[in-house]
Structures are given as C-alpha cells and as structure tokens.
Symmetry: C2
Subunit: 108 residues, 2 copies
Amino acid sequence: MVEYTPLDHTLSALADPTRRAILGRLAGGETRVTEVAEPFEMSLNAVSKHIRVLERAGLVRRRVHGREHLLALDLAPLETASRWMEEQRALWAWRLAELDKILKEKKP
Amino acid sequence: MVEYTPLDHTLSALADPTRRAILGRLAGGETRVTEVAEPFEMSLNAVSKHIRVLERAGLVRRRVHGREHLLALDLAPLETASRWMEEQRALWAWRLAELDKILKEKKP
DNA sequence: CCATCATTCATCCGTATGGTTGAATATACC
DNA sequence: GGTATATTCAACCATACGGATGAATGATGG
C-alpha cells in the first residue's frame, strides 16, 4: 500500500501477529535484536525486517550501544490509534442509532 | 500477508484511508455500491475490491436487492479491535511504568 | 424483447510484503 | 591482530495488494 498517514503505518504494523508479539516482548523492557528474535521460528533477518516496520510506525525506538541494538517500546502511536478507533466506533455507533430511531418513528 | 486471526483482518482492513472513508460513508446508512464509490477518484472496480476486503474483515455486510447490493456497516469487529488495542496499551504502559519504578529504586 | 444499469469476474500491471540465504560491516574479546 | 559476535545489506522468490480495463452476468424498465 502507498501509505500516507501515521495511522496507516500504525494499523498496518499492528496487523501482523509476529509484530504484535514483538511489541509484547518489548513491554518487558529494552531488548537486543537477537534476544527479540529468539522465540520466533523464522530467521533473525525476518525478525529484523519486522522490527524495521515497527520503527517506521514509530512503535519501536532503537538505541545503538556498541554492536548491540537495544529496542524499546514507544506507546505514543498506539495511544493515537486507540483513541482514533474508539472515537470512530462511538461516532459511527451513534449515527447508526440515530438512523434506527428515525426508521422506527416512521414505522410505529 | 497470510492472515490468521480476525484481529489481523480488522486491522489490515482499517489500515487504508479509502477503506476508512468507505466505513464513514456507511455510517450514514445502507448504501449501494455505486453510491459508495461515487466520491472516490478511483474506478468503481477498485472500490468494489475495497468493499470485499471490508466484508472479509466483517466490517461490512451486503444485502442483495435485485441488481443493487446494499452495504451496511457492522461495528462488531471494530469493537473487538478497539477493546484489544486499549487493553494492550494499558497493559504495556503499566509494565513500562513498573520497570521504570524498579530502575529508579536502584539508582536513587 | 431489447437496451440500460448495477455489479462482479477475469486479466494484467507495478509495487509491496514476508520470507530465505549469503555477504558485508562493525564492535568485542583474547 | 585475528576471531567471534551482532546486526544489517543485498539479492532473490512467491505471493498479495491496489489499481486499471474489458467482458460477463443479471435485473429493470420501456
């Protein structure tokens, strides 16, 4: 996809179970790339790519310390996305309810 | 992506501005495919494909009425995703806060 | 009946994604 | 200095995505 907004990046980054698992792991604190990759079946390189996607979405920050790259969770984009989602859900639910009300008034 | 869970479908369906706009439109009530497609620059066929993605995610229901297909918004998957997102955000924020607390106790 | 309208199906194209493997780079350690 | 370690880069592959266009299907309406 040609992605435009931060929301696009956040949602498409989250739409993958491997990446969500990586985030869960990082909630346990700063972790090296190899250590992050350890529990997954796929190659280290594949995990490295997933990490890059998470960085692009701003969900992960990288701190290079010698030859090790330490990864940390950044919740800011998740907060934004979560707020967006709940707002839309509520707004749309309200609109649908309004429509329903009007329909029931017309056919009582 | 090889998608597995409903959450995967929901999030990747939402990670596209055109599809989010379609949902917004459907919040105004049942709408025919052509009518949904009208405000977009792209072809009707392209919009039709987006609609199929939204259906696969369960966000849109289709009711065929003669030659017209009426599309309706279904908020259930959005509720699930919204709940998931807020739960994870809160959980991960709490874990990070706990880690921070421990670090500050060790270096006072 | 026949033309029109609503929609999908089929095909094609360019690009992105998720994965692999092998090489390159850079730091750490003895 | 030389070897092992951590990580990325580069190339490749299969498949999916987002879009276009043209044909097919199916219902409507005069």
